[in-house]
Symmetry: C2
Subunit: 425 residues, 2 copies
Amino acid sequence: MEVNIGLIGFGTIGTGVVKLLKENSGLIEKKTGVKLVLKRIADKDITSNRGVDIEPGVLTTDTGKIFSDPEIKIVIELIGGEEPARSFIIKALSSGKHVVTANKLVLAKYGGELHKLARENNVRLEYEASVAGGIPFINALKEGFVANKITRITGIINGTTNYILTKMEEGLSFEQALDEAKLKGFAEADPGFDIDGIDALQKLVIISHLAFGSKILMEEIYTEGISKITLEDINCARKFGYNIKLLAVAVNLNGELELRVHPALLPLKHPLASVRNENNAIYIEGDAFGAAMFYGKGAGQLPTASSVVSDAVRIAASLEGSHQAPGLFWGDRKLKPTGESVSRYYLRFPVIDQPGIVGKIGAILGKHGISITSIIASLAGNQGNEGNVEAVTHLVKEKNILASLQEVEKLSITRGPSVLIKIEE
Amino acid sequence: MEVNIGLIGFGTIGTGVVKLLKENSGLIEKKTGVKLVLKRIADKDITSNRGVDIEPGVLTTDTGKIFSDPEIKIVIELIGGEEPARSFIIKALSSGKHVVTANKLVLAKYGGELHKLARENNVRLEYEASVAGGIPFINALKEGFVANKITRITGIINGTTNYILTKMEEGLSFEQALDEAKLKGFAEADPGFDIDGIDALQKLVIISHLAFGSKILMEEIYTEGISKITLEDINCARKFGYNIKLLAVAVNLNGELELRVHPALLPLKHPLASVRNENNAIYIEGDAFGAAMFYGKGAGQLPTASSVVSDAVRIAASLEGSHQAPGLFWGDRKLKPTGESVSRYYLRFPVIDQPGIVGKIGAILGKHGISITSIIASLAGNQGNEGNVEAVTHLVKEKNILASLQEVEKLSITRGPSVLIKIEE
């Protein structure tokens, strides 16, 4: 089934959506039976080269061509900011079109009325990409955890500040870390939106709306950014066994909500404490599922586009009126023979310790094309001259390592079967 | 909208579903507009007390009463094992009923034909609870990551073996760890299904069907359990910087699939290496979203029931023919005033170092009802008598800590504003 889409906003994320549909729309159709067709792309700038080929007639500066086209069922809004984005979403919903957006500000401020408008027009409003792009958290909250009373959500939901705090853990000052974040494209020229916690605040409002069903105003939430955090704070925290993270926190204690965005000390053993660099993670607790964590990129052109397109597919699939995707087996079936599998390995040979053992074993491994990153020979405590030779290999084919083991086990110096365990990285 | 459900299998998970619906069906209705009604529960044993009240006439030993009831739209199958579970699922689908199941074996072996049958009858077959119960991974794979070519999945998807390996890391032998797992209810009397990797294998087949669309036979997958892993292996691995985990691995390299279940060494810094005890986690990589991880309980009565009920709600919501849930604001709106927020805190007071400082500051904190878990006074290197007093508090109300700070800052010994950072745990 073909479903036509109109895209408003041909910036970084919009270009990512175009790229992703070009690359994977065949795959999406095989999986779901849905073929997404980008019928129109509207932007103020339709001349700049974004590095993707667009068919003639698709680009327009006139959003009206999207709203008035009865063939377009889904509008993807990716211009960001309050206006005209909000008006475009309203126009799309009022025109009976489903809307996919990543617009945090509009959702945080006007989520309630936009949902109402969508309902009145019997269309859907989806926004997986608005929080933690690439990580399917929003729909987990709406669907996967629907049977739960959500009791607590603790999130690292701003990649810029997490990157800066990670670099400060590594010894950079706040200013140096901010400069590096700008250099890497993780921070804007005007970084206040991220640094001051506003981005995390908007996302927390969206999450709270879905988790608790309560109307939350942004100005009601205590919000503190990371600009006051010093290297001394981070080092002192570490001394007591903590990392400092910018957290968005929502606690539902007997129906009373506590919502806040601020830097906080996290015990090093907390699952969120080890979330580094620009990554996002959300730790969520509920009365039935217990606790769960979602971790991933949280931003970037293709991760965010992945979330946007997943919403469009979700909507398109629901239009069919049927309940089933094409079924399970849409893919090729080409299995790699076990012996051809390539891994690094840990090896342990129980041996009778005598001079030249490491050389003998090393020679056999070498003969089978196996190179070693480290090798240790050791006596096994008080068992006389019984010892072990342990080695960690570079990448090697399974059949080669098995052949070498057979050969080593035939040596007179071995005193039992060798141990072989794959290494995953 | 009311949707009637028939439950087949009133064991641990079935009882969890009944409990969860009793507890949260009002909440579910507020969130989604869907009211799930458990019209029939079929089990061989309808006399044992499961600790939940069932209305008269609901319990039956005759599954036919479910299949022949036109009012029942969704059948939840939770008896497990191959037969009669498979026949019940077939009968339900053929009767035009949507099916929710957690049955790994039946899905791994017969997933393809059951999907086909569901499609032919225009009904849905959902099985979020079959892998990593409580963690909404299956629907993330089907929907959230739909726009991606999945390149790699690495999962800790058997809680029993992860619990045993964690206890071995703590120094227990395999047998001791297994005994403790049995004692805690994480391992069955006959633990082979978990220990030998069969449970993980069945789940890997289900995941691979969805991720790659390839028909996979269980006997094609290299499967090795943990019974050969010794304390020595774990200690040796640690020496080289690795933990040992039972992994289910699926790699898609240029369309060639590599699938395997086996114990593996994971570098300690790998996100999966720190997944402890009975918890599950799945690390997934795709061409657009990059990498993401899901973490959670993975098993247990209520986590699994949470996944089962989420599937039933998902189906029920799709029956409505409309596209919208009731909208956003279904919940109460009671915000906790910021000052009433209770946390532990880290405090740092920059001071001019002189005898009695810790006592003075401690006295002020005590006056405001703040108790301290640790306090350190230190000279700040080579700045003469300038130093810091640092403290970590017990739980305290925000307004009390702010009041105490004001008072400390008035002391003549302070040389600048104090630092106050919340601790989350």
